[in-house]
Subunit: 191 residues, 2 copies
DNA sequence: CGCCAGGTTGAAGCGCTTCAACGTCTGTGG
DNA sequence: CCACAGACGTTGAAGCGCTTCAACCTGGCG
């Protein structure tokens, strides 16, 4: 891992660079080919991962058997089933790569070791949950307050990288609509 | 506060009863009359509160000036602007009582004092965020995976107390629909 | 080159929204 | 104590946007 990556990661996690380096030291790298099921819903998978490069989606299947994207993640995002990490129980979603992806994997045990060694990491652990919460909150606001068209615009503003890397059929279910609707929304927005 | 309340609270927070008592000791009680704006969006308000008895709603105003319920809370729920608590910044929602409500208020400072005195409370702090996250996650799943009608059924199963205590006009925006739609959904479900 | 997945487009349908009218209940003042 | 005003919920009718289903186009990959 290059120094540049560690600096970006430190900024993203809001911790000093030397702490980020400490964290990276207990992680392992993994390269995963595109279209690979990384986590299977129902099986415990308590590792978290930082996406160095690539694209990943977290999704579930609804009562009608439809594939629904819960999260779309790209460079410098965290991925993994955070609920599984918290509860040590089975994960509730599937996770797949969309592109070839470089992950930096952090096991639950590694985090707990860090926490035992130095209280800094317990504060960091608080911050992880806080971040997960505020992101989830923002998503609820998005779904409650905006129309599908506004949600697409917001996504385009907030993360053009997602629009660029991820096929529309996955973006549409992330926005809570069907693929033809997203196609028509895009058409409307051009004019 | 009666012992019975402390036992319920301990169960709800997943901490021993003696710890719950320790927490209550640094809280203050407040009785708030119904229809009272308790927290104003935009102003910092970093206290959290445990609802001993009553009903409260957390809401925002969308771009069209509509009132949208973000959370509906009843007995033994936590309320307050958790994001404001985390960031120490302004709260992003209004909070109002719907009924006369008995609150147990916990200031940010009181929590931080506890954390300084005993690492138990830092672990508790982690758990608070974890709980906030898992609740937010469940709400996202609800909005993404289910139709308005299913969401109403789910709410009815999960929390009849909300249906009983809170007027439909607030429930409808919580479900992401308009009051007449909720009225018709209820009618359909009777048959 | 040809297949196939992904995206677009048209047409029809459905459910939620909107607007307005009407009951019902509550609480408040005369 | 009654009467009335206002808030809340319900209901009807019309409209709109997303869904559904199917056909077609395009580009990537074997």
């Amino acid at each position: 891992m290059k120094d540049q990556h560690i600096i970006v990661m430190a900024a993203r996690l809001n911790i000093p660079v030397n702490r980020a380096a400490e964290l990276v030291a207990v992680c392992r790298f993994e390269h995963i080919k595109k279209h690979t099921r990384w986590i299977q819903a129902g099986t415990p998978y308590t590792d978290l991962a930082y996406i160095v490069e690539g694209a990943v989606r977290t999704f579930g299947i609804d009562d009608d058997g439809r594939d629904i994207s819960y999260l779309l993640q790209v460079n410098n995002d965290f991925t993994g089933d955070f609920e599984s990490f918290i509860t040590n129980g089975p994960s509730s979603f599937h996770i797949e790569t969309i592109l070839d992806t470089h992950l930096l994997l952090i096991s639950r045990a590694a985090i707990q070791n860090l926490i035992q060694r130095d209280p800094f990491w317990l504060h960091f652990r608080v911050q992880m949950s806080d971040l997960a919460f505020t992101e989830a909150k923002r998503r609820i606001e998005d779904l409650l307050l905006y129309t599908p068209e506004q949600r697409y615009s917001n996504l385009l503003d907030r993360s053009p990288e997602i629009i660029r890397k991820i096929p529309q059929k996955y973006i549409s279910s992330y926005l809570g609509i069907q693929p033809p609707s997203l196609s028509r929304i895009r058409k409307r927005l051009i004019n």
